[in-house]
């Protein structure tokens, strides 16, 4: 049974230095095993929101709780996948993935087993002994995903993880992520500026207002999406995408005025 208040943000505000208010009076609740995507105009603070949940920043107002416990700092219970540069360049793929397990003190044999399992999960067999600089962007993100999943976080945070990749690779990785999520049903908080990606992946889509960021609206995706699907041919998909796109566009225009 899922707990509706798995992740809770109450009246969260974030002010940086000289009056830059990134977030203001933000309320959001996420249930367990949800895949929540967050979209919004540039600068709306969606990444800031993610970093607050991750514990890398401290809110200037409000509270964040995960499973009822306040979030006080970073930790392995909140895994994060960044857009790039989150792999340790001096470690091989294998060592990067096993890093979290080493920090948790998992014994060697167990570690090797888990690492092998995750290498298979992200389809990187044969690349275990390569260094990050030898991998393509897409492969690096697969490693980033694997190295985060091994820690079995309570919630998976993703900051525009496919933003730096080309359209094809992005699509492939989106399908893979969906596949992994369906297998494991983790709780995911996924930030993106790409509305199509938000609809394709999210079971609930959060639209943020322009700065100072607030939750503008939250829309549940009532239909299922399958791998390799042609989104254009799906009228429900197109309708939802259009609806969200308009919502975001209004926010963008609000700034211009």
């Amino acid at each position: 049974m899922s707990c509706a208040l798995y992740l809770r943000l109450q009246n969260v505000g974030m002010r940086f230095g000289e009056g830059v208010v990134a977030l203001d009076s933000l309320d959001l609740s996420i249930a367990e095993r949800e895949f929540v995507t967050i979209v919004g105009p540039s600068g709306c603070g969606k990444s800031t929101l993610l970093y607050l949940v991750g514990g890398f920043l401290k809110p200037t107002a409000g509270i964040l709780t995960l499973r009822g416990n306040p979030i006080v700092g970073p930790g392995a219970d909140r895994g994060i996948v960044f857009q790039r540069y989150s792999l340790f360049p001096w470690l091989t793929v294998r060592r990067n993935i096993s890093y979290g397990l080493e920090e948790l003190g998992v014994p060697r044999i167990e570690r090797d087993r888990i690492v092998a399992e995750h290498v298979r999960l992200v389809h990187l067999e044969g690349f275990e002994d390569r260094y990050p600089r030898e991998l393509s962007g897409g492969m690096q993100q697969r490693v980033a995903l694997a190295q985060t999943l091994v820690c079995q976080p309570d919630i998976l945070l993703m900051d525009e993880p496919f933003g730096a990749l080309d359209a094809q690779t992005r699509r492939i990785l989106q399908d893979e992520l969906r596949r992994i999520w369906l297998r494991d049903t983790k709780t995911v908080l996924f930030v993106t500026h790409d509305v199509e990606e938000a609809v394709a992946l999210g079971t609930r889509i959060v639209v943020m207002s322009t700065r100072p960021g607030r939750v503008k609206e939250v829309i549940r995706r009532e239909f299922d999406v399958s791998d390799g699907e042609d989104f254009e041919a799906n009228p429900q998909f197109s309708a939802l995408k259009l609806r969200i796109w308009h919502s975001v566009k209004k926010e963008v225009e609000a700034v211009r005025r």
Partner: protein, 245 residues
Amino acid sequence: MKIVPLLLVVMLWQAASMSGLLPAAVLPSFFAVVVALLSLVKSGQIFPHTAASFLRAGTGLLIGTVCGTAVGLAMARFRPVQRAVEPILLSIYPVPKPALIPLFMVWLGIGDLSKITVIALSCLVPVMVSAFNGARSVDEILLWSARARGTTEYRLWWRVVLPAALPQVATGVRAAIAIALIVMVSSEFISAEHGLGYLIFTYGGVGADNAMMAVVLYLTAIGFLIDRAYVAGLRRLMAWHAFAH
């Protein structure tokens, strides 16, 4: 390919010597120098001096590197350490380190200790600066990524900052090696009983130019090989880094 210009210079040298343009009293011919070097090698004379020199330089370099890295990292980690050390560092900077040799000989005697200390001090500075800069320029995302995978603040420095700063430290060490050699030779000119600098100085003093040049040539070759070996070793050890040397 790269060796041809060097060969050309050597041939020019030899030709000048043989033609009488360059009298032996001014500069011995290249062949004479090579012969002298070979005899030094054959007799085994040169090896204890080589060992003495490089033992001093190596020890000083090691101490300087380890201390420099530790202090540099500490400076990056603790603001008070940076505030305390940085001004002192800037004041030490304009002091030509070989000029400290006689002072340290007064304090620590004329033996190896004073030389090693000055070498260590000289090497400490560039490595410290590199370590400090390297530690400070570690991408924030790497630190966040590590923390989100259960790394405590304490372990962060050992598992993330140090490896991330290593390429920059390695560059600092390369400069430190050159400095170590300079201070090593200087110290042996000023006062020594063994060492390559001692040989050069003594041979020069008695007018044994062939032998003196032989040791200079020998030192040049070793210096070159050490630098090359260091860069090659770096490329292998840090294969993960795109060293575009």
